[in-house]
C-alpha cells in the first residue's frame, strides 16, 4: 500500500483468488456431496428399525404421535393413525428418544441402542462448538434447535489478532479521507443446503474502539464464477495477506466439520450393514 496508490501483485491476487475459490467452490461442493450421502444414510435408517414394536402393540408418545410398527401421527378428532414422512419421523425420534428407546427395548435391545444413538447424528447438537485453528477459531451456529432441521448453518471465523480491514474501492475511492479505520472482527461462512454456494461475509469493528458490536463490511453474495471470484479477490486485495491465512485456516476448520460428518456417517453405514447382514441371515434361517 503506498500513499498515492496501491500495487497489485499478480501472484498475491491469484493466491487470494485461489484461497477464495477453495472455500466457496471446491470445499463447498465436497461438503455438499458429503451431506447428500449423510442425509440419504440417515433417511435409510428408520426403514431398518421397522417394525419398531411387534404387531398390534401400540404406545402413545403424545396426543399427536403413536408408536406401533412405525411412528404414526394420530388424528386428534377420530383417532385414525397416519404414516409420516421420514423427516418428521426423525424429529419425533429425536424429541421422544428416551421414551421410544425404552418402549422398543422390551422387544429388541439392539434397536433400542440405535435409537438412543440417534441424537448424536444431529448436526444441531454442535451448536456453539468452537474449533481452535492457527490464527483464529471457527464457531458453529445453527438457526434452529429442533433436531435434524434443514442444514442451514453459519461458521464464524474469529481471528485471534485483529488486522486492518480495508476494501479496494474504499482505498481508491474519493472518500478515503472520510474512511474510518476498521479491523476484521470475523469472517462468516453461511452454508445452506438449499443453495448451490455459500454466502461469505466480512465483518469489521472500529479500530481502538470499546464497541463490542461489529458490522458487515463486505458481502460476496452467493453466486460464484471465475469473474465473480476475480472481482472479490480484487476488492479484498488490500487485506490479501491476512485473508489468505484466514481462508486457509477456515478450510482446515471446515475439514474438521467434514470429518465429524464422516465419522457419523461411518457409524450410520456400520449400523446399516449389520442390519442388512442380520436380515440376510434371518432369511436364510427361514
Amino acid at each position: 500500500m503506498e500513499q498515492n496508490g496501491i500495487f497489485i501483485s499478480y501472484d498475491k491476487r491469484k493466491e487470494l483468488a485461489n484461497a477464495i475459490q477453495r472455500i466457496v467452490i471446491e470445499q463447498y461442493i465436497s461438503i455438499h456431496e458429503l451431506l447428500e450421502k449423510y442425509i440419504n444414510a440417515l433417511l435409510n435408517l428408520p426403514e431398518l428399525l421397522y417394525p419398531l414394536l411387534p404387531k398390534n402393540k401400540k404406545v402413545p408418545l403424545s396426543t399427536h404421535y403413536i408408536l406401533s410398527d412405525r411412528i404414526r401421527s394420530v388424528h386428534i378428532d377420530n383417532g385414525v393413525t397416519y404414516e409420516i414422512t421420514s423427516e418428521e419421523e426423525y424429529r419425533v425420534l429425536y424429541s421422544y428418544n428416551d421414551e421410544i428407546a425404552n418402549a422398543v427395548e422390551k422387544y429388541n435391545s439392539a434397536k433400542a441402542k440405535i435409537i438412543r444413538e440417534i441424537p448424536s447424528f444431529d448436526w444441531c447438537e454442535w451448536n456453539d462448538d468452537v474449533i481452535k485453528l492457527n490464527y483464529g477459531e471457527l464457531k458453529y451456529h445453527t438457526f434452529s434447535n429442533n433436531g435434524f432441521a434443514d442444514v442451514n448453518v453459519m461458521m464464524d471465523y474469529i481471528p485471534y489478532e485483529r488486522s486492518q480491514c480495508a476494501l479496494l474501492s474504499e482505498f481508491l475511492g474519493k472518500c478515503i479521507n472520510e474512511y474510518e479505520p476498521k479491523e476484521i472482527s470475523r469472517v462468516r461462512y453461511h452454508y445452506d443446503h438449499r443453495h448451490s454456494s455459500p454466502a461469505l461475509y466480512i465483518y469489521g469493528i472500529r479500530k481502538n474502539s470499546s464497541e463490542t458490536r461489529d458490522s458487515e463490511i463486505y458481502s460476496a453474495g452467493r453466486f460464484y464464477n471465475d469473474w465473480k471470484i476475480y472481482e472479490v479477490s480484487l476488492e479484498l486485495y488490500p487485506m490479501a495477506d491476512e485473508l489468505i491465512k484466514i481462508f486457509k485456516d477456515m478450510e482446515n476448520g471446515l475439514n474438521e466439520y467434514k470429518k465429524k460428518f464422516e465419522r457419523s456417517m461411518k457409524r450410520l453405514e456400520d449400523i446399516n450393514t449389520v442390519h442388512e447382514f442380520k436380515e440376510t441371515v434371518g432369511k436364510f434361517k427361514k
Binding site: 498515492n4 497489485i8 499478480y10 474501492s169 482505498f171
Partner: protein, 284 residues
C-alpha cells in the same frame, strides 16, 4: 504497469472514473439529463395536440394510419391505439398531410405539427465533429423519425488504441491476452433506461469488409459501485481513455446545445398550450 503486477494510482483511477461519469451520468447538466427532458417534452407535446380532429371525425392518413382524437392504426377496418412514441413518429413522417387536415379545425395545432420534423434529431445534420484525438458522429440504427427514441454517438479515435483490461493483466498467466485495438467508442442512450451505456468496439476486417465488434460495454443501470469497477477494469488504458472521453464530452456538448435550443422551443409550446388549457377550464 510493472513486470510482476500493476500499480494503481488513486488520482489516475479517480480521473478515469470522473471522465466516464461525466459522459454516462444522468445528472443535471449532462447530455442524458437533457435527452430525458427532451423526450418527455416531446411526449407532453403529443398530449397537448390531442384531440387532433373533432369527435367522430376520422381521416385516413395512408393505408395504415387513421387520424381521429389520436393517431390510430388501421387493421382490417378496425382502429387500434398506438403508443405515444409511435404516434410522434407518424406525426413527424406525415407532418404536412396531418397539418393540412388539422388546419381546418385548429390552425395553432396545425402550425405546431408542421414544426415537429424540426425536433427530429436524425434530421439535424450536425455531421462529423472533428476533435483533438478523434471524431464524433451520430450513428443511426433505424431510419425512422426520432430513431426509435434512441440516441447514439460514435467516437472514432484517429489512432487505434491497444485494448488491455486489468482482469487480463492480472490473470495473464492463464492465457496470453489477444491483442485488440479500440476502433470506436459509442455513447448509447435509450429513453427507457436511467443512464446511457458506453460501448467499446474494435474494428475487424474480414474479406475486405470492415465491421465493429463489441469488446466492452457498461450497462444502462450503472451504479456508483459498478462505475468503480469499470474504471478499474479500463485502468491499463487510463491515460489515453481520459483524453478520448474528454474529447467525446466536448463533441457531445455540441449536441447538448442543440437539444437545449430545441427543448426551449418545445417548452415554450407546452407552456403556451398549458396556459390556454387552463384558461379554457376557467372559462368553463
Amino acid at each position: 504497469m510493472e513486470q510482476n503486477g500493476v500499480f494503481i494510482s488513486i488520482d489516475k483511477r479517480g480521473k478515469l472514473a470522473d471522465a466516464i461519469d461525466r459522459i454516462t451520468n444522468s445528472e443535471e447538466g449532462s447530455l442524458c439529463y437533457v435527452l430525458n427532458k427532451y423526450v418527455h417534452a416531446l411526449l407532453d407535446l403529443l398530449t397537448y395536440l390531442q384531440p387532433f380532429v373533432p369527435k367522430r371525425q376520422k381521416i385516413n392518413i395512408d393505408g395504415y394510419y387513421v387520424l381521429s382524437d389520436e393517431i390510430k392504426m388501421n387493421y382490417l377496418g378496425r382502429a387500434y391505439k398506438l403508443e405515444s412514441k409511435r404516434q410522434l413518429e407518424v406525426l413527424c413522417k406525415y407532418s404536412n398531410e396531418i397539418a393540412d387536415v388539422i388546419s381546418k379545425y385548429n390552425s395553432a395545432k396545425a402550425e405546431i405539427i408542421r414544426e415537429i420534423p424540426s425536433f427530429d434529431w436524425t434530421r439535424w445534420g450536425i455531421g462529423e465533429i472533428k476533435l483533438n484525438h478523434g471524431m464524433l458522429r451520430y450513428c443511426r440504427e433505424i431510419k425512422d423519425p426520432f430513431d426509435n427514441f434512441k440516441f447514439g454517438l460514435r467516437y472514432i479515435p484517429y489512432e487505434r488504441l491497444d485494448y488491455v483490461t486489468l482482469s487480463e493483466f492480472l490473470s495473464k498467466n492463464k492465457k496470453p491476452p489477444t491483442i485488440k485495438k479500440i476502433g470506436v467508442l459509442e455513447y448509447d442512450y435509450y429513453y427507457i433506461f436511467i443512464t446511457p451505456a458506453l460501448h467499446i468496439y474494435e474494428i475487424k476486417e474480414d474479406n475486405a469488409m470492415k465491421f465493429a465488434s463489441l469488446i466492452y460495454s457498461t450497462d444502462m443501470y450503472s451504479s456508483g459501485q459498478t462505475k468503480f469497477y469499470i474504471s478499474l477494469e479500463l485502468y491499463p488504458m487510463a491515460d489515453k481513455l481520459i483524453e478520448f472521453f474528454k474529447d467525446m464530452e466536448n463533441g457531445m456538448s455540441i449536441y447538448k446545445q442543440e437539444f437545449e435550443r430545441k427543448l426551449k422551443r418545445l417548452e415554450d409550446i407546452n407552456a403556451m398550450h398549458g396556459f390556454k388549457a387552463t384558461l379554457e377550464k376557467l372559462r368553463e
